[in-house]
Symmetry: C2
Subunit: 212 residues, 2 copies
């Protein structure tokens, strides 16, 4: 069993989690692949459960995922959680500062250029069912989202994975919203390299799907 | 003189830079505070200079800043560049995985929740002068931007800096767009703790302003 710190002996990690969230799924996927046991606590975003004082104490930004790694020690921001968990494992290149920076580059690219533009249309179309009300914003996001997918497609035409030709947390982060992009109305048929890479991610050891 | 790698002996770092960009300013500020010499190459965003093939070879995402650290080795994404440069210095907590994760948390918060919502209104109002055309988007960004500023204000009511009560790259990243938020129409008078923190950042050794 993978063991990181002494606190692992006294409590399971607790993941404050929303099942449809891609940002939460990233953390579930990595925890599972690292064989770290954790408890899932469902936070109902639609009912405002991230905006109540009890939750804001865990993450003042009012967002999931939040990972409790020791009693009352909470990590937030999926990219930071992935880096924390993967440190020292095969999922984050070791002892190579440039490769670690490449991973961080893709994690920031994902959070700035990709995921907001994929997740928000997906939320308003497939979760909140408010597509018409937010049509002008959805158009704006989709233009930016296609630009980000173009950058990924171009990279994956040359490489099997995003960094160092091996599966890292960069792939986990980028995969999360990309593989469900069609739920936000994205036409993924024009991205064969992305689709082939999604299949490679799915074939990784101990993979779990977003609905598991 | 701070020297990181052998390549420092053969060439200065080259920063592909846009003077009004807060993301570029972060890198200029840190390089200056670390006393790392660098050459600035002005990239004219408004004239589409980040979208030409020569630039896209450096950063396929078509964005500044880009830092060339060795001939033909380019780093992109300001958060990743800050982490790369600050590794092993006082600006990124050493040998403490939890504190490093806290810094990364704020860097991701900045890129996801703060900077797009501050920088885009600033760009359309103060740079491109297209405020009317993008009014509905500016409203959307500003709502989210105020939420992010609220989170920062709340933190700074209790702490002098964002992590470990000392000045780190988390402060550099968060300061960059925040201190010019009024150029995007933000009313900063309701954020006294943020204003006091801005003054503390300005008083750091070797500080430079965004227009320097």
């Amino acid at each position: 069993m993978y063991s990181q710190t002494n606190d692992r002996q006294v409590m399971n990690y607790k993941l404050y989690d929303s099942p449809p969230s891609g940002n939460c799924y990233k953390v579930r996927l990595l925890l599972t692949q690292l064989e770290i046991p954790f408890d899932r606590i469902n936070v109902n975003i639609l009912q405002g459960a991230t905006r109540v004082p009890e939750f804001l104490q865990k993450n003042p930004a009012g967002k999931v995922p939040v990972l409790e790694i020791q009693p009352d020690v909470y990590l937030s921001e999926s990219g930071a959680i992935l880096a924390y968990l993967a440190e020292g494992t095969e999922y984050f290149p070791r002892d190579n500062r440039l490769l670690q920076t490449r991973v961080l580059q893709w994690l920031f690219f994902e959070q700035y250029s990709l995921s907001p533009n994929l997740s928000r249309p997906r939320f308003f179309i497939s979760v909140a069912k408010q597509q018409d009300k937010f049509a002008h914003l959805i158009d704006h996001w989709r233009n930016l989202g296609y630009q980000a997918l173009d950058v990924m497609e171009q990279h994956l035409e040359k490489y099997a994975f995003f960094v160092n030709d091996s599966y890292t947390i960069a792939d986990i982060a980028l995969y999360s919203y990309t593989h469900v992009a069609s739920e936000g109305g994205y036409d993924m048929s024009k991205y064969p390299a992305i689709q082939a890479w999604c299949d490679r991610v799915k074939s990784q050891p101990k993979y779990i799907g977003i609905k598991e």
